[in-house]
């Protein structure tokens, strides 16, 4: 029988279906006791509308795997960060045409208007050029920014460092 962790870790993220919730660092903990399982997940952003869907998918998956008593709990602290996206998750993002996040920038003491935190290189997932620009810091989902490649002109999404 596949372990409860493996079952839970195979649930896909509804908004980034190329990745599992384990790849994204949303899955925090799976505890098994007898036939009961408690799964702990954390939201990426406060308003993430996928949480209910993820919980439902977890209950369905584990239920089909024979676990009769499945509880899904939320955890807010520590707050989710893109640093929790696994190396596998980053590879899958790039393969799906979405630029993966870089390391989270260290917060700087604000003395003047600091509109752009240290701009790390974001490479175009299509041609690999580092010559890309941010079109909008917001995109189709809360966790992504919209960018365009200056070399091949491809517009693409970027999971922004958070």
């Amino acid at each position: 029988m596949v372990s409860a962790w493996e079952m839970a870790a195979s649930v896909l993220d509804p908004e980034l279906p190329a990745l599992t919730i384990a790849d994204l660092g949303i899955l925090r903990d799976v505890r098994e006791s007898g036939g009961a399982v408690t799964v702990t997940i954390t939201p990426t952003y406060s308003g993430c509308p996928a949480m209910g869907q993820i919980a439902a998918d977890l209950r369905r998956r584990l239920g089909e795997a024979g676990y009769r008593d499945v509880a899904v709990r939320t955890e807010l602290s520590p707050a989710w960060t893109t640093d929790w996206i696994t190396p596998d998750g980053r590879r899958k993002l790039a393969e799906a045409g979405i630029a993966p996040p870089g390391p989270r920038p260290v917060p700087v003491q604000l003395t003047v208007v600091q509109l752009t935190v240290v701009q790390l290189t974001v490479r175009c997932p299509r041609c690999g050029s580092a010559d890309t620009r941010e079109i909008s810091r917001f995109s189709g989902t809360a966790c992504k920014a919209l960018r365009q490649c200056r070399a091949c002109l491809e517009p693409f999404e970027h999971v922004k460092e958070h």
Partner: protein, 285 residues
Amino acid sequence: MSDNDSDFDAYLSLADVTADDHRWAFGTGFADPLAGIDASIPAGVDAAALAARCLALGDDALIYSHRLQQWATRAPELEEETALANIALDLLGQARLLLTRAAQAEGRGRDEDQLAFFRAESEFRNVRLAERADADFAELVARLLVFSAWRLELFRDVTADPGPNPDSDPVLAAIADKAVKELTYHRDYAAAWVIRLGDGTDYSHAKMQAALDTLWPLAAELGLGGEASAFLDAVFAEATLTRPASAPLAPVAGKTGRDGTHTEAMGYILAELQSVARAHPGATW
């Protein structure tokens, strides 16, 4: 229903009507957003003060989010539309968490839906700036700048250290910790537009200054702290705008938004926000 990894569709369970949380958009009757988090009020935290604090911060987010949602399909460009919808979604998420915590702390058996949809205008504790309708894009970004700079500092204070009662509540601190990262995006988005328009053409400068002058009487109610105030001054300087010196919008019989006294705009928001829930009590959508 059978599926395996090869044909697993993340949206499949949307069609499964047997469970209660297989819906995508926001409505009513959703699972408790604080499910599984210890709901007890720690010793030393004043439950009534915590309920009031979470209610005020939650109402600010709920009402402001609703105002931003009204820009959907009306923003000048698709990128701005997406940005405003994302900001509205972040604030709605904060509102749900905060209202749920407020309901736990007050201990009257209510939940986020009852607080959002079944309270009267005088029971809402949001600042009056949150309910103001934006007449144009300049007013939108000016208001968002002031609101998010203020809210960011408020939430940073909550997370700074154990803090004064009731900010020492670990659930409030965890909500604030998530919100700080989101509010930084919101503030920077607004600041970038205020600078671009303020330091733009004569026409855009005049519109930006007029927008700031128009809403400034509502800023006094926020009690802007040192950090937020300094940030605004730095943005105004960069944007070649003048910080208005206009008098605050007067309280009514000594009362403002935090006391449940609102402007005319509030009734229209609540009518739109609450009408479906009130027409069909107990329905979920």
